[in-house]
Symmetry: C2
Subunit: 591 residues, 2 copies
């Protein structure tokens, strides 16, 4: 049986002891990180969340205590009382390296079997095994630090918004399923058999209702759920710093959120962020970076050479322009030695994999640029390409010719790939607001205009005149905050005018029945006096990942799920007994 702490009370965390404590009698508690038996001497590194301290046992130690120290193994939990003394051989690598605790009393609070992997910072064990024993993996300092930083981020975010007059209001998690957005997780109702709750994809509808109630400034760190096939950087449940405010302009909302990031960087990383952040229109982001979440830490902007090549003899180029598309390129400066023919071939395969037909290129290694398609162009045309894109000796120029909807995202992705290959991305934080999103997107398959955002997003006032006549001209009061090529946060001003809302629905070709079925109670709510309002949802997990430098959301989530949405530790989800299904009035369909 284990021993108990009894009358002992912890006086210090392990990692907090210093030379100034020498001579003090202390009580520390923790896990055995390492035990070294030197015959007459035993040393134990005792670990808690603050760090490690060395326990010493020598010839002056009572035999019973010495024997316990002798038997201690990795991950045993100990409580040790002793006097802090200066070490004979100091360890400058750890904070407590100058001292040790000469133990007078020791309790083995818990023995431990040999763990399936060693608890070390740099653990090579496969992630699946570590996830199965997540409680052991979470003993490792890098993961503990991430989880603790995440907690601090949440605290700073709350403090910031509270100081700015926001009220945290909890919205329900058992809500009505809405047929918009991603797939809902459903929860069968026992009382109302055949009916279901849904888990919220976000508190969107409720926070809008809170604005109608006059709460004016709302914040919530809200758990959100999406039943989607997981990519590497998604979790089925995630946390959103969700905010909404009334009577404020889009600019004020953006400013408040910039303040949050300024505060987070200051308080968490000790870094000063310059605000206001750069603002870029959606059109600019697409044209210059081929992405609505541009990584602007480096140049290599996309250059349009359509005008130069539109009548040239190279059919791939002139044809693309004639079909309404374009020919664009990126210039990888001083890359000719790295981007060899072989590397460019790999890039060609890459762009084919993401939907482009191929890649044309110029490699300018020697005095003259070498180029496969040069022979189809006049010298004037070729030189005009070079001067348009500003290529110089040593550069590689990569071209894509196609519809714009292929050219831009392809070059956007290629730009990132090349920059990583060339290792030219500086380790800085570059925030960019993306604004002036198109309100409608033309869906070529259905031949219909569809809303790019949820249908409660407000169009800019000056575009209202085009709602019926020229949908492509309508710009949304929506804004995304991006950082280093990642979307951190997304927001908009909401439609609060009941008549305009009806008009928007009609513009989206919704019937009255559809409006009622999809948005009934929310539409009703806007009839009784609605303040102008808007807000944002900011991914807490993603912020934690960026600030901690973690490589995946799993590294900032205490108990994450893997790609098939299961938790390896508890083996969840799992079958349940028939009785549990019977009371819900549902059954599992056999395959």
């Amino acid at each position: 049986m284990a021993e108990y702490m009894g009358e002992l009370r912890r006086t210090h965390y392990c990692g907090d002891l210093r030379e100034c404590n020498v001579g003090e009698t202390v009580v520390v508690c923790g896990w055995v990180a390492k035990q070294r038996d030197l015959g007459q001497l035993i040393f134990i590194d005792l670990r808690d969340r603050t760090g490690v301290v060395q326990l010493a046992f020598n010839e002056s130690t009572e035999k019973e205590i010495f024997d316990k120290a002798f038997s201690a193994r990795a991950e045993f939990v100990l409580c040790a009382k002793g006097v802090v003394q200066e070490r004979s051989s100091k360890n400058p690598d750890i904070k407590t390296g100058d001292i040790e605790v000469l133990v007078e009393d020791l309790r083995v609070l818990s023995k431990a079997q040999t763990p399936p992997f060693e608890i070390v910072d740099d653990c090579k064990t496969s992630e699946d095994v570590r996830l199965k024993y997540r409680y052991l993996d979470l003993r490792r300092k890098p993961l503990q630090d991430n989880i603790i930083m995440r907690s601090k981020i949440a605290k700073v975010a709350r403090d910031y918004f509270y100081e700015n007059g926001f009220i945290e209001i909890e919205t329900p998690m058992l809500i009505k399923s809405t047929p918009e957005g991603a797939r809902d997780y459903l929860v069968p109702s026992r009382v109302h058999k055949g009916s279901f709750y849904a888990l919220p994809q976000s508190p969107q509808i409720y926070k809008q209702l809170l604005m109608l109630s006059g709460f004016d400034r709302y914040i919530q760190l809200a758990r959100c759920f999406r039943d989607e096939d997981l990519r590497a950087d998604r979790q089925p449940e995630f946390t959103q710093i969700d905010m909404e405010l009334s009577f404020a302009s889009m600019e004020e909302i953006m400013e408040i959120n910039e303040g949050l990031f300024k505060r987070l960087f200051k308080d968490i990383l000790g870094k000063n962020l310059e605000t206001p952040f750069e603002k870029m229109t959606y059109a600019d982001a697409m044209n210059r970076y081929g992405s609505d979440k541009p990584d602007v830490r480096f140049g290599m902007e996309i250059c349009d050479v359509s005008d130069v090549v539109k009548d040239c003899g190279f059919g791939v180029f002139s044809g693309a322009v004639k079909n309404g598309g374009s020919v664009r390129c990126i210039v990888a400066k001083n890359s000719a030695s790295v981007l060899t023919r072989k590397e460019v071939d790999k890039l060609t395969e890459y762009v084919k994999g993401i939907g482009a037909k191929g890649l044309a290129f110029i490699r300018w290694v020697d005095d003259e640029p070498s180029c496969g398609f040069k022979k189809f162009l006049t010298d004037e045309e070729f030189n005009s390409i070079i001067s348009t894109c500003g290529a110089e000796k040593g550069d590689v120029v990569l071209f894509v010719a196609d519809k714009n909807s292929v050219v831009l995202p392809t070059l956007g992705a290629l730009r990132l790939k090349v920059a990583k290959k060339l290792d030219i991305i500086p380790d800085v934080f570059k925030f960019v607001w993306i604004v002036d999103f198109p309100f409608f997107e033309f869906d070529e398959e259905s031949g219909e205009w569809v809303a790019m955002h949820h249908p409660f997003t407000m169009p800019k006032e000056e575009c209202l005149q085009y709602l019926d006549t020229d949908k492509g001209k309508v710009v949304a009061k929506a804004y995304d905050l991006t950082l280093n090529g990642t979307e951190l946060s997304s927001g908009s001003i909401r439609i609060t005018d009941y008549e305009l809302q009806q008009k928007m629905f009609k513009a989206l070709k919704l019937t009255d029945e559809e409006i009622e079925a999809k948005f009934g109670f929310l539409v009703e709510a806007y009839k009784y006096g609605a303040p102008p309002h808007g807000g944002m949802g900011i991914g807490l997990d993603r912020i934690a990942m960026l600030l901690s430098g973690a490589e995946s959301l799993r590294d900032v989530t205490a108990f994450p799920k893997v790609q098939n949405a299961s938790e390896l530790m508890s083996q969840s989800p799992a079958p349940v007994d028939q009785e549990s299904l019977d009371v819900l009035g549902i059954e599992v369909v056999s395959e």
Copy 2:
């Protein structure tokens, strides 16, 4: 169409304007609480979450603005710019009653249909209608104040625990269903068809795992879910201030939680709470108050007269004692005039409704106590009852004779009912810790001892010897915090010794298969070194209710559900389409 704020920016909240602002040009935004048209003068009470301010329009007002004010109706949303001036007739009942805003510019941001009920503090409309239009009900000041206070409580609780070294860690909401406790809400998995997640009834298992990971001090304001038939004071989803800490004694844990309440009362109500709180054993609470959550704001303690009546001629009394039960009573002091024969008959019906066979009583109105069963007793026996329970002229004594498991809870409930009837409960806050809970409860039906708490609760060390031999003697390291007869919070020290845990399971007659199926991964986790730990779960909703003086949890929950677990506003839960069920591989069983 509505107007926009345009260049106007709110400068003040309505309720914040005071005489010191006279002469300033301000911009305020809000809802029309009232419009009074006096011909040449119009007054509008404009309301936001801070209060109301009077807007004035007079002969100096531009006609266009005056016309807008004329057309404004209740709940229209306005933005008004104007100069603060002293009122000619002041209103001492509101904070802004000394001033008004003489409006120069007015925007009607939103018109409003006539709401289904008037937005006034004291609204008589039925709760069902108000819940259907919850966003309107939430405009009423009493509800807004509750929600805002709840937000403050959460903030203070977080601050307190953070200051004490606790880390907030988010635990998963899609977890494995465990067959313990109340009924789980289940969530069908799409990826793993036929399998289910459960929503957590509490983060219990995860917080214990976090202690095993060494996080040492954990806090979370966690949403919890229980699929139970709702009583008046339950919600299917609720929020728990959930905490756990390692290397601390039961007394330290209780002390830390006392500190929380001290802080909450200070910061929220401005009241000083005396600590430490009273501690009472479970046995005392049951014997003196007939409840494990005793309301100790008043006396009327239960008195045991079994010894006096055990051989008396009144078979109801002597029989109860002979069968191993007891005869006990409460004395309602000076109540004879209120507790008439008719009232006592009502109380008899009441106790019959909660499982007692009946009620014997003494009403001492005149010089002599009047009593139906007196004739069966000797004078000595009767006088001995009177002296044992201390009854005096003017009192009513109410007796229950039965098994203790009937007598005590019946008198406990009766005591509360009588106290309310007599209106003798003072408006104070009386916290009591209930400690020394029995570990096992003897289930008469099955003839087995069953655990009263979850099977991870630690027995007191000195009782370990009785685990096999005398289960009734084993006391749990569990503690409940009660306030004014309500259980606020419940906690325990957990078993962390793997061998002891096995012993506990065996004592509970669990087979190895059951242990594995029910607690497999958690049991495994305790093999690798476990610190002593314990914690509590504290009902945030209930605290908010108590501190705000609200009468139901619905009044401190932004979007509550009603007794059948539905939300009247969104009409949730609701049927979903077949496709949604198909992808989950489930179907609804027709009745």
